[in-house]
């Protein structure tokens, strides 16, 4: 077993407390999480359960009060903000609920920017951008500004931006949270497609439909993991799917 690859992500004993007005909020209370190469893990739970905080800790957007995170076996404890920013360009792609695109840059520039910042030669950055935008059905939108696109299209641009440097890990924080049900299905389809090609994904969502695209679902309650279930996609016991669909006689 010693020569099996290190997990893409290995968090141990993560703790995070928010201090604001009123009582301290224990957002993450001792979380252990191991994500292996090629896994698609969804974290679900009610709002306020701390699942977004957990994702922010995993992406280095917030620092834990306790515990440790290893990425591909590399400890991150001593990483500075600057180091995290660099690593996020290479190791981790992130998509957010509200897309967070740079509003005064074109679609093409939004996607190429992280590649250029990571030192990719411009020609190669452009080729990567063209390939991803075509893949995501956005060919012809290169010159558009984010504000001219629908929410679903903006989220696809954000996905292209997150994946342009081929990060081993993709983190998605409520990626369909501001989309209609058509946009939700689109995001679901695309995440599934990248996952089938081997992309490791950690998705935070309150939407069970979206979560069911993952092959492992973690239920998060009150800062802790309440359940960690593999979805094997096998027919469920009982009437399962046909029972749900049955028209009454």
């Amino acid at each position: 077993m010693s020569d099996s690859p290190a997990p893409v992500l290995h968090a141990q004993g993560l703790l995070k407390t928010h201090y604001g007005e009123g009582a301290p909020a224990h957002a993450v209370r001792g979380v252990d999480l191991c994500v292996r190469q090629g896994e698609f893990v969804a974290v679900t739970g009610p709002s306020g359960a701390g699942k977004s905080t957990l994702l922010h800790l995993l992406g280095g957007l917030q620092r834990p009060d306790g515990g440790s995170i290893r990425l591909d076996g590399v400890p991150t404890d001593s990483w500075s903000e600057a180091r995290w920013a660099v690593e996020r360009r290479k190791r981790i792609g992130i998509v957010f609920q509200f897309f967070n695109l740079v509003s005064n840059l074109s679609v093409a520039d939004n996607v190429e920017l992280p590649a250029l910042l990571a030192g990719v030669p411009p020609r190669q950055a452009r080729a990567g951008r063209e390939e991803l935008l075509a893949e995501l059905g956005l060919a012809g939108k290169e010159r558009s500004m984010p504000g001219e696109l629908s929410g679903g299209e903006q989220q696809r641009v954000a996905l292209a931006r997150a994946l342009v440097n081929h990060p081993p890990l993709l983190l998605a924080d409520e990626p369909a949270g501001s989309l209609d049900s058509k946009g939700t299905r689109e995001v679901m389809r695309l995440l599934s497609r990248f996952h089938r090609r081997g992309q490791t994904i950690v998705l935070v969502t309150h939407d069970a439909r979206l979560a069911s695209a993952a092959d492992r679902v973690i239920s998060f309650f009150d800062g802790r993991i309440a359940d960690d279930a593999e979805l094997d996609g096998r027919p469920t016991r009982g009437t399962g799917i046909s029972g749900v669909l049955e028209l009454k006689d």
């Binding site: 599934s192 439909r209 309650f221 469920t236 749900v244 669909l245």
Partner: protein, 171 residues
Amino acid sequence: MRLPLLALLARGPAHGYELKQDLEQLLGSAYPQPNVGQIYVTLGRLEKQGLIEGEDVQQSNRPNKKVYHLTESGREALRAWFEEPEDEPRVRDEFFMKLALAPQTGLADQIALINKQRRQYLNTMRNLSKLAAAENRDNRVAQLLIEGAMLHLQADLDWLERCQEELEELE
């Protein structure tokens, strides 16, 4: 299946196998395939009740087939069907009774019950997603049927979440 068969016959006469094909086409792979035997049995009952009438049609080199058409009282039954709203879907009462009674028995843990039930729903949700992806996108009726099932399941999952929130607070 009585009323759906009547509804299909409202367009014009058809025989049993045609009706099976019409149902399949309408509902796509989403709906468990109707068994042709079941359709013939139902048609026989509908005929006995005077809601449809069958007529034997000669076929060369084959047994006769029976072509059915809607009677006036069949049309009336259909009107009455469309007139009335349907009952609300049932709450999963069996699971609720387990949850409510578990603490008194000392035989099951409420949170474990919720987790088990959630796994079942999530697996079914996953199967529904796969079905939706496999179904022809242009078949709106089939897609809406699957989406309806997913939204119901989503509501059940939300409710499980509420139960878990409430019960964990008590711990």
